[in-house]
């Protein structure tokens, strides 16, 4: 009996469908958790898990688009916090809820646009630019608030993040909407395919007429906008905007994208994958609490998952080009043999 085909099939699934792998891991963890704690079977637990995944999921959609263009945005956590603070400030200043939220999202779009312009037109490395804005935006927000949270928000504003429709929290509806929209843009529009082309080979994309700089700048702006949207939803959910929010949030967001199969090398990735990645992170953090695992070790588990996902990404990339490398080597050998005759 040969296991060859079965192994090959498993290998193909593992590398070809990260969404499947993440979904399987979530189910396995759930099954294991259910044997250890009755809380895993409680629908309230799952509503909480989903609610926690919302923020990473929404910001993760933007991070996914940025990563697929071959970029990187480390300022997500600061933008998340700045928009929470900004939205809370505007709402507490008497702005209507919709305008306060739009204003907060505008902060993210502005920071994202600055990132995009510096990366694409000033040609400064993305990691440097977004690391710079990560510190700068946080510093500005802390200075503006004096380090104190902005509370006493109007009911209208908090109702957005705390309310529910048909028994499902608004936050989950918002996340669903953003995820669906981002998926349609990435998977079905010419803009989405150009994002992949830009991440795959920017020189080729440019030489074939795609305005890669403008496209990448727009994507950074969208990424900033989505991080800000997640931030203002958080302010609404908590009923305050605190400058201590979002520390390390950027790493969770990028982790969700990578766990969901988005390649750190650009071009490859999917929005449903990122949504599942966000869910897995939320399941892990909530689940490990329920399992009474030492909080320090919870971070270890999350770190291990990220490294594993990045390893799969590397393996997928290697496997994709094994065939062509093998063929090219055969051709070269053939040529060398021909020349030596």
């Amino acid at each position: 009996m040969s296991f060859g085909p079965a192994v090959a099939r498993a290998n193909r699934w593992l590398l070809g469908s990260p969404e499947f792998v993440v979904a399987a891991v979530i189910l396995l963890f759930f099954a294991f958790g259910a044997t250890q704690s009755q809380q895993f079977l409680n629908p309230e637990t799952w509503i909480n898990i989903l609610r926690n995944a919302v923020f990473i999921g929404i910001a993760g959609c933007g991070a996914t688009l940025v990563l697929i263009t071959g970029g990187l945005d480390l300022s997500v956590g600061s933008v998340f916090m700045a928009s929470a603070v900004g939205g809370a400030f505007l709402a507490s200043s008497g702005w209507p809820t919709a305008l306060a939220m739009l204003g907060a999202v505008g902060i993210g779009i502005l920071v994202g646009t600055v990132n995009g312009i510096l990366v694409n037109y000033a040609q400064i490395s993305a990691i440097i630019v977004t690391l710079g804005t990560l510190f700068a935006v946080r510093a500005l927000a802390v200075t503006a608030t004096g380090g104190s949270p902005i509370g006493s928000l109007p009911d209208d504003f908090t109702a957005v993040g705390q309310g529910s429709v048909f028994g499902v929290p608004n936050l989950i509806w918002f996340a669903f909407l953003v995820i669906a929209l981002a998926h349609v843009v990435l998977h079905y529009t010419t803009f989405g395919w150009n994002i992949r082309a830009t991440g795959g080979n920017p020189l080729a994309a440019r030489s074939m007429g795609i305005n890669t700089r403008r496209l990448s700048t727009i994507v950074y702006a969208v990424g900033g906008g989505l991080a800000a949207f997640a931030g203002v939803l958080m302010a609404s959910r908590l009923g305050s905007g605190s400058p201590s929010l979002g520390n390390g949030f950027e790493l969770q967001v990028i982790a969700a994208a990578i766990i969901g199969g988005t390649s750190i090398f650009g071009s490859i990735g999917s929005i449903p994958g990122t949504a599942l990645g966000a869910l897995l992170l939320s399941v892990l953090t909530t689940g490990l609490v329920l399992l009474k695992v030492d909080p320090a070790m919870q971070n270890f588990a999350v770190g291990a998952v990220i490294v594993f996902a990045a390893g799969i990404d590397r393996l997928r990339k290697t496997q994709m080009f094994t065939k062509s490398a093998r063929d090219t080597q055969l051709v070269r050998n053939h040529k060398v043999q021909g020349a030596s005759k």
């Binding site: 079905y188 529009t189 010419t190 803009f191 989405g192 395919w193 992949r196 082309a197 991440g199 795959g200 080979n201 020189l203 080729a204 994309a205 030489s207 074939m208 007429g209 795609i210 390649s263 071009s267 490859i268 994709m320 080009f321 065939k323 062509s324 063929d327 090219t328 055969l330 051709v331 070269r332 053939h334 040529k335 021909g338």
Partner: protein, 275 residues
């Protein structure tokens, strides 16, 4: 296939404009710092003809191709496509005006499939913003079949294809654009014997379709087998122009290395007129 945005020869030439010469470059010069890459270079490409540009490293052949492709703007000189002056600021611009280029790096996206790569930068759409994947796949499949290009499927990522298959896809993409002029930069570099033969057949088929093909190549065997005319570049100048049927490899090698003297301007003119 949606080619409504792609100008055909007649569309570019316009009514009443004679288009006997597909592409004409006159007195083009290009200087990089202290280096004169092109020095008063002329070039003529005719429909249904394959012109080879050969020369040693640094002869200026790649710069010449990049000027024609719109990558570089010549410091002086004019480019005419079917009699009309062209001021291409980018490869996309040149393509819009009738010049398709297959660069040496092929300008393909390895992570994306054959169908998408065939439409890179010019996707088929519906409702203006959505990519019409189904139509792109069907058209890509038909084009590749038409030119007997063998790929496992149009859904396969370019990264999984061999060098010859990638080259074929890049050429097929240029063909699909249906421009009257096709430029190819080292089309047989890194290809095996059989793949070189396939690419040669593909390029030869362009002659029968009335395309003006310009090939930059080091591969003299390929040039003598598939091209009609050879323009030898040396030190940024046109050193000589020969018809393949009236020259031999020794003479071309002598011209490339400088062992044989540069043609006088009247020699080149006479030889071009004798075509």
């Amino acid at each position: 296939m949606n080619q409504s945005s792609v100008p055909g020869p007649a569309a570019i030439a316009g009514p009443g404009v004679r288009a006997e010469v597909a592409l004409q470059l006159e007195n083009a010069s290009k200087i990089f710092g202290h280096i004169t890459a092109l020095n008063n270079v002329n070039l003529t490409a005719n429909p249904s003809e394959i012109l080879a540009i050969v020369g040693d490293n640094g002869a200026g052949k790649s710069t010449l191709l990049k000027v024609l492709a719109g990558v570089y703007r010549a410091d002086s000189g004019t480019v005419r496509v079917l009699g009309r002056p062209l001021h291409a600021g980018s490869p996309a611009d040149a393509r819009k005006h009738g010049i398709s280029t297959v660069f040496q790096d092929l300008a393909l996206i390895e992570t994306l499939d054959v169908a998408f790569n065939m439409f890179l930068g010019r996707q088929e759409t519906f409702l203006r913003i959505f990519a019409n994947r189904r139509k792109m796949m069907a058209t890509a499949e038909a084009t590749l079949r038409n030119y007997q290009v063998n790929v496992p499927s149009v859904r396969v990522p370019i990264g999984e294809l061999s060098g010859g298959q990638r080259q074929s896809v890049a050429i097929a993409r240029a063909i699909r654009e249906d421009n009257p002029i096709i430029l190819l930069d080292e089309p047989t570099a890194a290809l095996g014997v059989r793949e070189t033969k396939n690419i040669g057949a593909l390029i030869s088929s362009l002659r029968t379709e009335g395309k003006a093909v310009i090939i930059v190549s080091h591969d003299l065997e390929f040039v003598f087998e598939h091209c009609d005319r050879i323009q030898v570049m040396r030190l940024g100048r046109v050193h000589a122009i020969r018809r393949v049927s009236k020259t031999n490899r020794e003479e071309i090698v002598g011209l490339i290395t400088g062992a044989l003297p540069e043609d006088q301007p009247e020699d080149s003119t006479q030889k071009m007129e004798a075509k």
